[in-house]
Every structure is written in structure tokens, then in C-alpha cells.
Point group: C2
Amino acid sequence: MLSFPSSSPPGFSSYNGGGMNGTSTMMDFLEEPLPGVGTYEDFNTIDWVREKSRDRDRHREITSRSKESTWALIHSVSDAFSGWLLMLLIGLLAGSLAGLIDISAHWMTDLKEGVCLAGFWFNHEHCCWKSNTTFTDRDKCPEWKSWSQLILGHGEGAFAYILNYFMYVVWALLFSLLAVLLVKGFAPYACGSGIPEIKTILSGFIIRGYLGKWTLIIKTITLVLAVSSGLSLGKEGPLVHVACCCGNILCHLFTKYRKNEAKRREVLSAAAAAGVSVAFGAPIGGVLFSLEEVSYYFPLKTLWRSFFAALVAAFTLRSINPFGNSRLVLFYVEFHMPWHLLELVPFILLGIFGGLWGAFFIRSNIAWCRRRKTTKLGKYPVLEVFVVTAITALLAFPNEYTRMSTSELISELFNDCGILDSSKLCEYVNDFNSTKGDDLPDRAAGPGVYTAMWQLALALIMKVFITIFTFGMKVPSGLFIPSMLAYYHHDWAIFSGWCSQGADCITPGLYAMVGAAACLGGVTRMTVSLVVIMFELTGGLEYIVPLMAAAMTSKWVADAIGREGIYDAHIRLNGYPFLEAKEEFSHKTLAMDVMRPRRNDPPLTVITQDSMTVEDVESIINETTYSGYPVVVSRESQRLVGFVLRRDLIISIENARKKQDGIVSTSVIYFTDHSPPLPPSSPSMLKLRSILDLSPFTVTDQTPMEIVVDIFRKLGLRQCLVTHNGKLLGIITKKDVLKHIAQLANQDPDSILFN
Amino acid sequence: MLSFPSSSPPGFSSYNGGGMNGTSTMMDFLEEPLPGVGTYEDFNTIDWVREKSRDRDRHREITSRSKESTWALIHSVSDAFSGWLLMLLIGLLAGSLAGLIDISAHWMTDLKEGVCLAGFWFNHEHCCWKSNTTFTDRDKCPEWKSWSQLILGHGEGAFAYILNYFMYVVWALLFSLLAVLLVKGFAPYACGSGIPEIKTILSGFIIRGYLGKWTLIIKTITLVLAVSSGLSLGKEGPLVHVACCCGNILCHLFTKYRKNEAKRREVLSAAAAAGVSVAFGAPIGGVLFSLEEVSYYFPLKTLWRSFFAALVAAFTLRSINPFGNSRLVLFYVEFHMPWHLLELVPFILLGIFGGLWGAFFIRSNIAWCRRRKTTKLGKYPVLEVFVVTAITALLAFPNEYTRMSTSELISELFNDCGILDSSKLCEYVNDFNSTKGDDLPDRAAGPGVYTAMWQLALALIMKVFITIFTFGMKVPSGLFIPSMLAYYHHDWAIFSGWCSQGADCITPGLYAMVGAAACLGGVTRMTVSLVVIMFELTGGLEYIVPLMAAAMTSKWVADAIGREGIYDAHIRLNGYPFLEAKEEFSHKTLAMDVMRPRRNDPPLTVITQDSMTVEDVESIINETTYSGYPVVVSRESQRLVGFVLRRDLIISIENARKKQDGIVSTSVIYFTDHSPPLPPSSPSMLKLRSILDLSPFTVTDQTPMEIVVDIFRKLGLRQCLVTHNGKLLGIITKKDVLKHIAQLANQDPDSILFN
């Protein structure tokens, strides 16, 4: 398994650990640094300030050198453009992979129903294109054989139906079992939607291998399998994960991004935008999604680059043209009828329903996932997938609307009925004698519509329940499309009732669209990005107001029931150390209430700047597990000098013992500029100023926690020291902050996975 | 003139100045605070941390009270919804004002050419609607009389032409002089586009009256006058200013926003989005504009609210329907033809041209404005407006394309030629016999096209030069439309040449659109928001890639020539204290290089926590001009306790001398929790802990300035204290940071207007 790049082999890192201690590092910046100093361990959080500082040092270095030679100048220019080049590559790769996934999934979905005689690699639609005869009905084309036709030679009768049914279920089980076994065997991180983890990674957490090569390969394959198996899941979240893997892997091509965790996270934000862009054909929506939902640190530069990556990805996908309609958008709606102000009432009602559904879904899904996590159930993921797939396939086949793939269903629901439309949903009584040709809405609903209605209602109920159990299984699974789907049915039923009463009939596709937005809004709590995605998806610029009304209502309603969106809920369920930027910290606690040591604890472990020996420091390291230690002038004064990281300290001492002459256990370690005056008989001293962070962040003990939380969020800190009247008093780490927040919210503070 | 709300009469402010000193303020939070404590003076910068802290205190207060009574609960709920209500009001007001401005400007523009006999309040178009006869040509409708027809009784001949010409110039002069006199007499802040100032205000600066009642009224009136006078300016920037005035004034309705500078700035960000939304009919573009270009502090909550305000505003404008086409978008383009990949080459060329034009425009305009500022020219604003209007009007009338209003011209240019189109630009040779009906592009260009071409070329040259001199005059003026305009002509010429060669002819409107985007991109350096505005403006969702290609190229090219966009250039020209968030600070200086006192200066002025008398403190206040003083344990230890603001100190001492018994010049001031032990004979002591900020921000002297700049930007600080090994060493204010940046950029550090 590919490890997260910061675990790169020794010698890779060029960081000397003291990027922040000013001009003094300028001299030894070019010296060979100690391997490992300045890197992070797995499941640790990064220090944004230090990472950005390192990047600026690197940038300055290149700029100042660029005046020396032409080669250095070229290097400087190429460095400046490497970000854009990387975006181009990410866009191309993400777009191509998305195209590949779309085509394969389409083919394999059709494989469940039959096979093409002209060539088994054609899907149903392409097969019928190849066929020379003009075909009137999609299902009647001579080259395409359903399984019963292939095996029995005919497709009629009860036995043929049962055979088709059987083959459908078998294929579905085959696909899903293959998917779960691949995930289990090769890349455990490839399961799920990936968005909660990506949010956590982007906020500065390190999960090695989560965005690696193997995850990418296995996720791509299993995503196709999972979608084809007919499980109630979408490919949108996983596509974001796939795009982020692309971004992370391509980062290795450029030193600038390979070596810097903060810079890489900027790239990942842009990759997430590209992922949404290809999932929906919505580049602007993708950028806004990345901004609103996923990203943590999103400067304007990243905004521009994200947009570029999203556009390239969308454009690549368009060139591959997996849907065969040469449009960027997936479900292009043709209707452009204006809507009436009065219609806002049903739109808002849809929003309320969407919010309720969203809140209900999140609760049920989290309850189920918690049960899976805590009981024996979680030990049999393969069995679980088997059972869920079997139930899904068994229930799905008899109903026409669940048998077809979800995206086919959505485009059918979004469509406005034309007179010549053959879909059952459009089967109104066409009485051309009594009505004018363009007086479509007044036609009475035919029997097909009623059949469609109850089929859709059944499909709705089934999808709702199945999705609750599906999301969170050990296969790649997305949420978008299923939850978009859920509501269409419902509102379609509302609409149909309305329309058959003979009242003035309203564009049904619009209601489907608004219902979808409301539903997705309730589940994910997105607003602006959701609206933009919806109208990019459908091309309906006129319908911003209805979409917005539904999305806002849905968010309000759902927020009133439970504050968290599905991704945040899963982050909390998994205990990821994610510091939510949306919620205001509203409690009146002070830094002194949160800092360690607590009131009755032993005093803070500190290192003095020029009086401790190697032995002393080593015993401190062995006795404690803190990831860093404050350095003070003396224990008596407790005046703060700087902060030194445990990891850097261990590596430096080990290195000095091996390579530096005369370093023994009684050698004095000093962090000052000049060595302290010691008796001449003492062993040679060890200078460690280069690993000392001379500008640690400090707050006073009286600082309200709301400000401390704000500082942690905005500056991306890992720890912050607490002083009182200039004396060092304690330390607050990100873990302390998260535990404190969890405690105030009456949650178990120890649930947080953190180091 | 309406004063900025923080100058509200004494008694209004409910802030006790110590919002950050934790639980100790909980008790006296409800006590009557001293009037004036916690407010700001004009041309000062706000402390974001303190303001946000105050708002959280207020919020907590309301929440905790809400459990006590039903009334308090209602208050709490209404408080939570007041933000949304405010957005609704801003949207309604901004939308209505925009509609009013559009209608009035339309009418007055037509007034320059003639008058309607059916009622002088009808504009040309409405007048002809009223007319009962069916009219084939817009210009020939019996009710509408040009001035020559009205005065001479006929409209033919040289004399009639001269009379029309004369009336056109007279009206233009009348409008523009009225505008400049109104601005000069009533609201000097109403001039210009307002966007540089709004950016500065949003970053935390206080300019009293800039967003006041009078500015709103005068700006609305003069904007109509200036646009009607035919000056080369747009109404878009000023509409943002108008919307921000609405936002600021409506803030007075809600205590939450009236009393808090940070909360009000959130509202203003949303108002700016509403302004752009109504200017272009582009709600999403407005939000992105606010995010990318204008705002400083833009949390997700503001994103949602901005979107809501922008939608309401756009919807209100649509209901007023000033353009009479019931669409949300101003220049709806009908063409939906796909574009070819090869066309990217001319699009990128357009981008390069746009970038060059943008850089050239900024340089020339800034050079001219600097000259206006430094020479005698600036003393005669009325004369300047007179001359520029006269020249514009004289040059504009003979050319058909400059005579019509800019928005009319743009919609004409954006249009794709249909066969029945009467515009001169579409006058191809219609030879229906030899070509099929839909084979439009192959028609040879008729003589009308060539006439149109040179007229447009002339119009282009004229507009370019006039706009340089117009932007920055003492009338409300926007940039968008003029700079959008400039490029259409150019690319139209390119296109026409191309098309007449008989090669395959390309949608001309698309080139106009892309040219406009390139040009605006070069001037303002927007990217994402620009693309979104353009496609919302035109409804052309298919053309994101061309627009993006042009906008990015344009930005790159223009950035290579000069880093600043027009608004940033004007901010620097005016010396506003704006800390740019886009530029990375890239120098290797340390906090100790920037802090005061400098190396050879006298030591920092400090106040001790419990040993100085009222007299001592007053003499410090009188001898220095600093806006605040650090409080230390003792002069010897220099251990920091807190920070106290000059303004708060003056008000508190004055108040104590008046109202508190026994406070004389020899009274000791103490900031500690308990009074210090003093001889019993000494006069009564003054406790000032409540105005002491117990959590001042500190950095060490070794902190690189890049980190300090980052902290100032992200947390919105006003000052930051510098320590070394726990001892107070100096102070860095926002002014110091800005001066330092200016110095490093080889600019005059004293040009910055700041207190």
C-alpha cells in the first residue's frame, strides 16, 4: 500500500525544523537537514503555520537564486507554473477516470439484463445503435439478447421472467461480493463515500494511504462494481475521493507539493472540486462544494485553481462523452417555462419534507452505523453486503423504476412530457380532436400514469429504507444520487394528483428538480453549492429562486431537528479530530479551564534553555507522551523561550549520539545562541537551537475559549501555550480543544481519535 | 449628514469594554456601562476579535435569559431571525432602488433626444407602446417627437440635425452639472464607484457617513443623472455602494447590528452581493463577487445570507421589470450553438488583448487621477465634469453607436443576427434564392456591416480614451459596463473580417461576450465571479470554458504587467489602510524589525498595574498619541498583564473624577483584582480592571513578519504586543504593518491615511 507521502524514505525531507526562527536559519537552510525532522507521524495533525512558513522559505530561496543563473530562472518560472500544470493534470486524470467509470458502469448495469451479440463489450444502447434496423422501442432490438433469450431462445413466459430475475440477482451478488472482497483484501480505505475522511484530511489530519495509489485503483474498480450491482448508492462521493487520490498521487511529481502538507491540501481542495465537477458536470458547483462543504483552508489562489481543475475535468469528460449527448450536463432539461409566484408554497412544502427526510435519514443511518460499529454485525462485512445486495436485487427487479439504473430513472423523471414521448409516465389520454395541439396540460391522465404512480411510490419506500442500510457499508458508496432520487417520486405523486384534478398543470420536471434539491439539502445541509449544482446539472437558470427556497427551508427544518449534516455526523461517529468551522463556539469558558496541567495536576513538563543534560531530556521523553515541550529560561522564572517537538528532539539526540563526537548522557543541551558558561571539565555540549520554534503561539489564561477556538481554526494551530502575567502556565492542544467541545456538547470526550 | 452608527448618542452603547476578560465581566455586564467606552473614532480601524467577542456575549446573554420568560424566549427567537429579516429588507430595498434607477435613467436618456406627446413621463419605447398604430421601425412612431420635430415641426434637414445635436449636448451638460453640484453640496462621499472605499470599510476601517442616509439619497439621484448624461460610466459599482448604504441604514433597525461593527460588516458583505445581483441580474455572481473581490471576513453564514439577499434583490427587480422582458437577465442571448475546440485560440487571444487593455487602462487612469490629486486640476471638479461631458456629448451624437445608451449597445452587440433583424449590424445580403433559409452565415456582408464596422471602431477608440478620464471624477461612476463595452467593438471587427472572407462563420455574439469578459478581467482581475456574472448575464451555460479561458489569460497577462486591479490601485492611490489578503507577504523580516520602539528609541510607554496615580496616567496620555497602552506588573519585570485603550482610559478617568467621590490627581489607579496595600492616609483608589483587555495578542520578537501579517489578516487585529523570553518589548499596530509593507514595496510609507 502506498504510504502517505510524508512517510517518504529518510533523506527525502529537506526541512530543518526551524523555518520560523528567522534569519538564523538562513545560513543552515542549505545544509543537509536531519532525515525525519519536520515530518509528521500517522494520525497526527499538521501545523499549518509551520508548513506555510516552510513553503515561503522555499519560495524565497528559489526567487533569490533565480537572479544567479538562467537555469535557476527557468526553475523559478517552472516552479511558479507547476501549480497550474498540476491542476491541468488532475483535471485530465479525474475527467478520464470519471469517463471510464461511467462507461464501465453503464455496460455492467446492462450486463445484468442481457448481452449484445454484435460484441459483448457494447451496452444496450450502443448495441442497438450498431443494429442496422431502425428500432422504435428501446427494448426491441435484434442484436440485444436478454439472458432468457440467449439461454432459452425466447423471452416470453413465466420461466423466462424467472430466469431473467435469477440472472439479475446473480450478477448483482457477483459484482457486490467482488467489490467487498477487493476492498477488504487490498485497500480498506476504499470503502464508503470518503467525504468525511477527506474533510478531516483537509483540516490537517494525516491518514497515511487514504489517498494512495492502491486506494485509487481499488476504489475505481469497486465503484464500478458497486454501482453496477444495483445497490442504492451513487458514484458522486466516491468520485470526489477518486479525484483527491489523483491529486495526491500527482503531487509527487512536484517537489513543492510532495514535501509540504499545507500546499498539498490546497491541491486536494481543488481536486475535490474537480471530483464534484465530473460527478455532476457542474464545474462552478464543484468549486462551491469544495468551498462550502469540504475545504478548511481555501485562499483565493485555491479558488482560481480549483475552478481551472474543475473546468479541465468537466471538459475532459465532455470530450469522452460517456452519455452520448455532447452536453456538459447530465440531465439537461428542455423546459424553460416561467413559474408562478404562488408555486413558491409547494416549493417550500417540498423544502420542509426534504428537511424532515434529511433529518430522519441522518438519524437512522447513524443509529445503524453505530450498531454496526459496536455489535458483532461489524465483523461480517461480506455477509452484510451479500444480504443487502440480495434484498435490493430481489426487490428491485419486479419494479421497472428500480430495475433501471438510478441516473436513467432521474433523467426520465426530470423530463417534461412531450406528445410523442413513449414513457409510461407521459401516457396521458391524447385526444387531439377536442384539444389544441399545444394544450397539453389539460389532457386527462391515462392508466399508465396511475401504474407509474404506484410503482414510483413503492420504489420511493424501498429506496429510502435500503439506502439507510447501504450508506456506510464496506463498499464505495455515495449518497448524492440516492437521496436526490428519493424525493422525485414523492413529488411526482403530488404533482400527478394535482394535474389529474384538471387544475392548471405545472411543469412536473421542475417539481422533481426542486424535490431533489430539498432532499439533498436536508441530508448534506449544503445551500449555495447545492443550488448551483442543481442548475448546472439541468441547465435551468430560471429556477434559482424555487431551488433556493426549497434548499433554505430544507436546511432550516433539518437544522432545527439536528445540527449536523450527514458528513459531520459520520466524522463524529468515527471520532475524527475535525474542528468544525461552521459552528460558533458559544460557551463562556476560559483558556485556563481547558489547558493542561489542570488545577491539581503536577506542574507542566518544561525543558530549560541551557541547564539540562541529554540524560535529563531523555528521561522526560521517556516519562511523558506529549508531542512537544516548552523551553523556558529557568524553572523558577518560567519565562517562555520557545517550543520543541518531541519527534524532532528524539531524532536530533539520536543523530548527535551517533555522529557527533563527545556527546554523552551528561552533555548539556542548550537552545541559546551562545553556549552557557560551564566548567572546562564537562563534556562537549549539544546545541539544538535549530529545532527550536522561537515563535510559539501564546494566549493568556484569561482568554475566552471562543477566541482560542477561533485562533486554532483560522491559523490551523496544533498547540498553543498559556501564560499568566508573562509566566508560562500551561498548554492547550487541538486535542484538548476538541475534547472540551465534545464535553460541553455532552458527548464522550474520549471518543476522539487523536494523538 | 448621517453619522456612522458608532457615533450614536451617549447612552446607546451597552458595551463595558472588557468583553474578553472572561467570567469577571459576567456580573457587571448588565450594569450601565460608560457611554462611549467600546466605540471607535472616525478613520480608525476596528478590532474584529473584540467586536465578535462582544456579539457572542450578547448572544449568550439572550440565550440564557430566554429560559426565564416567554417574552425573553420570543426575543431570543426574533434575534436569531433578525439576520434573515434584515437580508429580506435589504434585498427588497436594493431591488426597488435598482428598478427605480433603471427606469429613471432610461427615461432621462431618451429625454436627450425627444419627448413623448402622450405624456412626458413615457420613455421612447413606452411612448411607442402607447401609440395605437402598429409601428415597424422603432424611430418612426407618431407620439414620440424629437426636439427638432417639437420645435421646428419637422425632423428633416441640416438645421433639425443641428438642433437635435444642440439639445442632446445641453441636456447632457445639465444632467452632469446637476450631478456634480449635488455631490459637492450634499454628500461628498457619493462620488466615484465606491468599491475601493467599501473594500476598505469591510476590512475594518471606519469612514463615518460613507454609507449614510444622505450618501444614499444623493448617490441614487446623481447616478441617474450621470448615466443619463451619456458619460462613459456604468451604474454597477455605484449600485453596490447604494446597496451597501441600504444595508448600513437598515442595520439601525436591529440592535444586534447597530451596535456591533463586525456584525454590521457581515451585513454589508451581503448587501454588496445584492448590489451586484441587481446590477447584472446575477445573484450567484453577486455572491462570488462579494467573496472574491470585496469582502474581508466572509464566514459561511454570510455566504448563505448573501445568497438570500442577492436572490430577493434580483427577484424584486424582476417583479418591477424595468427592461420589460420578464427575464432575470439583462442581455439574454438566444444562441446555443456549440463552439469548436479550435476557437479556443481566438478566445485566448481575446484574453491577451483584454489583459493588455486592462493593464493599460489602470496605468493611464491612475496616472490621470494622481495628476488630478496633486495638481490644481483637482480644485475645479465642476469645470472638469463640464468639459468631459461636453466632449463626450459632442463626440457621441454623430455616431449612432455612442449615441444610444451603453446597455442598448451591448444588447445589440450580443445579439445573433436573425434573418428579420433590422439592425445595421445584421445587414448581410439576403439572397434567399441561392441559399437555404438556415444557411445564414454564408451570406456576404452588406454595405451596412462595413458602415457599422468603422462606426464601431471609432466608438471603441473614443470610449477607451474618455473612460480613462471619466472614472474617478466627482460624480458617481462605475466601470463595469464601459470596460465591457470597449472590447466588443474590437472583436466584432475581427469577426467581421473573418466572416466576410467566406470562411465558416462563428456566432458573433459569443465573441462579444468573451471579449467583454477578457476586458473586465483585465481591469478588475476577477476570475470566477466574472465568469459566473457573464454567464448569468447572458444565460449561456455552454460557454463557461471559453469565458474562463479568456478571463484567466487576461488576468495572467495583466498581472504580469502590474499586480494590482483597478480597485486596489485606487485604494493605494487614496492611501486607505487596506491589508491585502490576496498578496502573500514574501519578505524575510522579523517582528522585532517592525515593532515600536525601534532600536534607539526611548523604551515603550507602559502603565503599571497597581502603582501609578491618575496624574501619572494623565500625563502619559497627554505626552503620547498612542491609541492604547500595555499594562505590566512592574517596570522592572516588564511582565505583561493586559492592554488598555486610550479612549477607554480617558472616558473612565473623566467619569470617575466627576462621579466617584475622592478621586483626585494623586489617587492610585489599579488594574488588579484586589486593591494594592497602600498607606491608610492615601486618597481613595480607582479600579479600572473592567476596561482592561486581559487577553492581548502577543508574538515573540523572533516571529517572522509573514506570520504576523497572517495573524493580522486572519484575526483582524488592531495591534499586537511583542515579547522576548516572556518580557514585554514592543508593540506592532496595523499601521506599522501597512507602513512596513509599503516600505518594502518601495512606496512612501507615510502615504497611508491612518490613525
